[in-house]
């Protein structure tokens, strides 16, 4: 799967981001290839989430380019697109470090909101549907089917009608991933999906992500849990203080002295996580 010649999907070129006097990202370049799981790791404050927010359109980068290859061979310049179009046109979906579900709405409703764009078109932008016209019913049935198929995959079908906020933490994480997948993305960006999960939930998460990859969606992943990262990633980018310090396969990164130094310099625990014995 981790073929070296896989097509580049997302190219980050010389990305820079400054907040006032603080440089959060400095000249960051890397590539995420189609059909791969690319992980971005690094100590706290390395700029991982900032990079994510630039890619998904929540921040406008101070400098640099972000280009996403289109199916027809052209590319989207993500840094110049309005935030919502990055998800809608370019097909980049994301989850959040601190889960952002529509907590008061049901699980099913969360997944339907994610399919808002096609549904809204089917309602004639709200006008026809009030009058009961348009092919809205069919569109809604399809949307519900899609939601159900995802609920089955994440094992939440039985809780479809419960408020999303009432789910246990691990289930909320899975639901957020399913919601992002309902956008039909080409690139799914996950911000620490394993944070706060227990070991068995983490294992399930790994399986889910591998399945998403197998179905053709590429993944970009920020994660602190080195077990997960080393086991499922095809390609790892290591950041430290806003710069890239290493880039390669899990085996290459693990052996890179820069990486070990950065983690040891930061805190010992993470360095232990990185230690070589954790191989699937």
């Amino acid at each position: 799967m981790a073929a070296e010649d896989a097509m580049p999907l997302l190219a980050v070129r010389r990305l820079g981001m400054r907040f006032g006097g603080i440089t959060a990202l400095d000249d960051l370049s890397f590539t995420a290839r189609r059909g791969e799981i690319t992980a971005v790791i690094g100590p706290n404050g390395a700029g991982k989430t900032t990079a994510f927010n630039c890619i998904t359109g929540f921040y406008r980068p101070s400098s640099g380019e972000l280009s996403l290859t289109r199916p027809d061979g052209g590319s989207y310049a993500l840094a110049k697109m309005p935030g919502h179009l990055i998800a809608r046109r370019a097909g980049v979906a994301r989850t959040f470090q601190n889960i952002r579900l529509f907590a008061g709405m049901t699980v099913l409703e969360n997944l339907l909101v994610a399919q808002h764009i096609p549904l809204m078109a089917a309602t004639g932008f709200g006008i026809l549907a009030i009058l009961g016209l348009g092919h809205y019913r069919r569109a809604e049935r399809q949307a519900v089917e899609k939601a159900k198929s995802w609920l089955e995959r994440i094992d939440l079908l039985a809780r479809a009608d419960d408020p999303a906020g009432s789910l246990p933490y691990g289930a909320q994480r899975r639901l957020e991933i399913a919601r992002a997948m309902c956008v039909d993305p080409v690139l799914l960006c996950l911000d620490e999906p394993a944070a706060g999960l227990n070991p068995s939930e983490t294992a399930e998460l790994g399986a889910l992500l591998l399945r998403i990859r197998a179905e053709g969606c590429s993944l970009l992943l920020i994660e602190h849990d080195m077990n997960v990262v080393m086991r499922i990633s095809d390609h790892i980018v290591v950041l430290d203080r806003g710069r890239k310090i290493s880039d390669g396969t899990p085996a290459e990164v693990r052996a890179d002295p820069h990486v070990i130094a950065a983690y040891l310099g930061e805190d010992d625990e993470s360095a232990d996580d990185l230690a070589p014995e954790v191989v699937p």
């Binding site: 907040f19 006032g20 989430t49 927010n53 929540f58 959040f96």
Partner: protein
């Protein structure tokens, strides 16, 4: 004549702006700490004006007519009783709603505003209450083409009082443990609480200080315009809030700066365009500022947390 007229407007505008600035400080402090628009703040200002009127009338009937003494007593009386109002409002209408959902305190504040307005109307009557000028006359700065630019004693008194109060206030916020606690709560209420700051008390004190400043503004308003009624709080409150937003909500110097700007805009607009639309001018400035400069003039740049 043109320049002299403009100079006079500048003086008048700054005077009015100081009154708005004093009220705006209360809005910006409360917003900075608990992130709510204290809708009743304008009505505390109105109560302060009534308390001042009652004190001045009472002192006059007791025969205390030395103006500086009467003003000093009135100021302390109005500020301390308005502070009691501020504390009670927070305790009764806002504290039980802390941590409740976002709109609840705002609705409660609107209810409090209606309550105070009607309380003043019921207890003091709906008629406009006039006050004879305490400090007539003033300095003639310059004469040009038959137009005398005048700086009245009253305006000087207002400026001196405002600067003095803001000085005391600044000292309180920057140099005392109480001020440190307030600033800590403003940065992060929850964290401040974890570090052992009595956040409830700090918030209460914030309301007390804000209310006292608003009452002083009420006294100055009464002296400057010589007439008050129960409705002055609403308009002055909205304008002072505009001032706080214009200056950058949460920023104390910003509130004063915003107050001065709103006072100047309103005065110049009335002088050169139309008195009827002066409020429209102030409100339009508010909308334009928010759209093009959401953090205000001196506000912190807020990076959206994702």
């Amino acid at each position: 004549m043109g320049l002299a007229y403009a100079l006079q407007q500048l003086i008048n505008g700054i005077t009015l702006g100081m009154i708005y600035g004093l009220i705006a400080v209360g809005y910006t402090m409360v917003y900075g700490i608990i992130g709510m628009i204290n809708f009743a703040h304008g009505d505390v200002f109105m109560i302060g004006a009534f308390l001042s009127l009652i004190a001045l009338s009472g002192l006059a009937s007791l025969g205390i007519t030395a103006v500086p003494l009467a003003l000093a007593i009135t100021l302390v009386f109005a500020a301390s009783l308005a502070a009691l109002y501020g504390w009670t409002i927070e305790r009764v209408a806002y504290r039980p709603l802390r941590g409740s959902f976002r709109l609840a305190p705002l609705i409660s504040a609107i209810g409090m505003s209606i309550t105070l307005q009607n309380f003043a109307q019921v207890s003091q009557g709906a008629r406009v209450k006039p006050l004879a000028p305490l400090l007539p006359g003033g300095l003639v700065l310059t004469r040009a083409g038959g137009f005398a630019v005048q700086l009245s004693w009253m305006q000087i008194a207002i400026a001196v009082t405002t600067v003095f109060c803001l000085g005391v206030f600044t000292w309180l916020v920057t140099r005392t443990p109480l001020g440190r606690a307030m600033r800590a709560c403003e940065q992060d209420l929850k964290m401040a609480g974890l570090l052992g700051i009595d956040t409830d008390r700090t918030i209460g004190v914030t309301f007390v200080i804000g209310a006292a400043l608003a009452a002083i503004a009420g006294l100055l308003f009464l002296l400057y315009y010589g007439a008050i009624d129960f409705y002055i709080g609403f308009v002055a409150g909205v304008k002072a809030f505009t001032a706080a937003v214009l200056g950058g909500i949460g920023s104390l110097p910003g509130a004063v700066l915003g107050g001065l700007l709103i006072g100047l805009i309103e005065t110049f607009w009335s002088a050169y365009f139309s008195v009827q639309y002066k409020d429209v001018a102030a409100f339009s400035i508010l909308a334009i500022t928010l759209v093009f400069l959401p953090t205000g003039l001196l506000g912190r740049v807020d990076v959206e947390k994702v």
